[in-house]
Symmetry: C2
Amino acid sequence: MSLKELSESMLPAVEAELQRVVARLDAPYTQVYHEMLTYHMGWTGEGAGPEAQGKRIRPLLVLLACAACGADWQSALPAAAAVELIHNFSLVHDDIQDNSDLRRGRPTVWKQWGMPQAINAGDGLFVLAHLAVTDLEGKYPAETILKVAKTLDETCLNLTRGQFLDISFENQSDLTVEEDYWPMVAGKTAALLAACCQIGAILGGADEAAQDSYRAFGQYLGLAFQVQDDYLGIWGDSVLTGKSAESDLVTGKKSFPVLIGLSMDKPFAKRWAEGPVRPEEVPALAGELAAEGIKLLTQQTADGMTDLALTTLRTADPQGEAGEALFELAQKLLGRPA
Amino acid sequence: MSLKELSESMLPAVEAELQRVVARLDAPYTQVYHEMLTYHMGWTGEGAGPEAQGKRIRPLLVLLACAACGADWQSALPAAAAVELIHNFSLVHDDIQDNSDLRRGRPTVWKQWGMPQAINAGDGLFVLAHLAVTDLEGKYPAETILKVAKTLDETCLNLTRGQFLDISFENQSDLTVEEDYWPMVAGKTAALLAACCQIGAILGGADEAAQDSYRAFGQYLGLAFQVQDDYLGIWGDSVLTGKSAESDLVTGKKSFPVLIGLSMDKPFAKRWAEGPVRPEEVPALAGELAAEGIKLLTQQTADGMTDLALTTLRTADPQGEAGEALFELAQKLLGRPA
C-alpha cells in the first residue's frame, strides 16, 4: 500500500474527526461562531472543498508514525485532529497579524467577520485542539495522554516563540541566519511537525529513543521544508516568470537566501538597502543572488537538512507500509524523486 | 484564621508560582516576549505593583476550595496559576477586541507592543496556563490531572462562546436577558469562576456531588457578581456623582438593567433609541430607569443569585477556616456584610 492508498483511507477519517470536534460549537446561540470555524477549515462557504482545506500533512504524519510503530492508527485520530487544529489556530491569528486578505484563495476569517471575532475564532480552534487531546481518554492510559498534552503544549509555546520572532523581524535590519532565522523557523515551522511525529510515536507505543528519532525527523523535515520554500520563493519557476509580484524579493520576506545576501557586502545587499524591489527587477536580482553563490548555498542547505531528515527517519526505523509511506511523504514534500 | 490571614499566606505563593510558570519564556531570543507577559501580569514596567496585578480572586478560589475539602493547598498551586493565566489570556485578547487603551490604569499590551504581538502574547498566556496544569504531574494521579485539564478546556470553550456573543451584541439591537444576556455572562464571567471552585474540589479529593456543588457555587457567584457590577455601573455612587462619563449609560454597555429597560416601551427605551447618552444626562436617566422599577429588579436579581451562591456553598459544606474564608470571600465580592 502506497502513500496514496494510505492517505485515501486516513484523510477522510481525519476530516470526519475534525468535524466531530468542531461540532462542539454547533449549538444554540453559537451557530455563527461554528460557521466561522467550518468556513476556515474549508467545509462551508464560498470556495469550500479540498483546495480550501489544505493538505492535512500534520495529521497524516501523526497517523503514519503511529502505524509505522505497528499500532492501530484509528485510535490516534483525536490526536491527529488536535495537531491540525493547532495548525489552523495559528493560521487564523497569523492572517490577522500579517494583515493577509486571502488564505488558500479565499477571504480570511478576519476579512469575513472582523478582527475581534477572528481573534476569538482562533482561540476557539486552540481550545478545541486541547479538547481533542482529552478525547483520547479511554483509548490510552492517562499517563500517555498527559504526555501527548505536554508535548503539544511545549510545541505551542515554541510556536508562539517563533511567531514573536517573526513579528519582531519586521522592524529589525541586522538579522542573522544563526541567531534569528533558525530560532524563528524552529518555532514557527519545525516545532509542530516534530510534535506530530513524536505524538504518533508515543501513541504507537514506541520507546523513548524511537520517540526522539521520530521527533528529530519531524524537526529536520520542517527545517528542510522551510529552506526549500525560501528557495522556491526566489528561484521557483512561477515567481521567476509569470508571478514575480509574489516573489519573496518583492514582498520583502526575510528568508534564508535574503539574510545570507544581506550578510555579504555585495550588490544584492546594496540594492536591498535602497528600498522595495519592483516586480520587473526580480529576474535580474535573483540572478545577482545566484552569482553571489547564494542559490547554490540555499540548495545545499535544503539538501543537507533533507539528508538529516531521512537519516533520522531511518534511525526511527518505521515499519511496514506506513513506514514506506513516511519516506515517500518526506521525499514528496522536499521535492525529491521517491 | 480569617480570609485576610489565609490570603496573606496564599497570595504570595500564587505570585511566586505564576512567575515560575511565566519564566519559561525568560530565555535567549525571547526576552521581549517574556517582558510583555511580566508587564501584563503587573510585575514589571511603569506602574508595576499590587494595583497592576488585580485581586487574584480566581487562584484564591482554587486554593480555598481545595483547603476547604481538607487537602493541602500547596500542591494545587500550579492549578491556581493556570486559572489566573487563563483569565489574563482573555484580558489581553479582550483589550484588543474592545480597542481598550488602559487595563488597571496602565497602557494595554497592544498599546505598548502593537496588535500582532499582543495577539501572540495572549496566545502565550493560554499555552502557559496549560503547561501549568501539566506541572501537577507527580503530585496527583494522571487521571486527576486529566480531569482538571478537561474541566479547564471546557471552560475555555465557554469563555470563547461568551466572547463571541459579547462581540456579536455590538451590532444587535433586539437583545433579550433570557436569550442573550444570561448565555453571554454564563460564558464570559461565570464559567471560569465555576471552574476554579470545581478544580479546587477535584484536587481537594471531594466526591462528584461535592465537586458539582462547588462548581454551582462558582457559577452563581459569577452571575451574581456580574449583575451587581451592572447595578453599580448605573447606580454606583462614583458613576452617579463624579465619574458619570464612566457610567454604562454613556459607554452604551448592554448590561442587565439596560436590556430590561429596552424591553419595556417606556421613556428609557425611547431615549436610548435616539442615540448616545451624554454624561450630563446620567443622573436623570438613571432615575428614570429606577422609576420604571428596574433598579429594584436588578438589585433583587443580584440578591437572588447571591442567595443561590451561598446556598450551594452550604451544600458543598466547606470545612475549617478555608470554608469560613470562602463564605467571607463570596460575601465580600457580592457586597454583603459578612
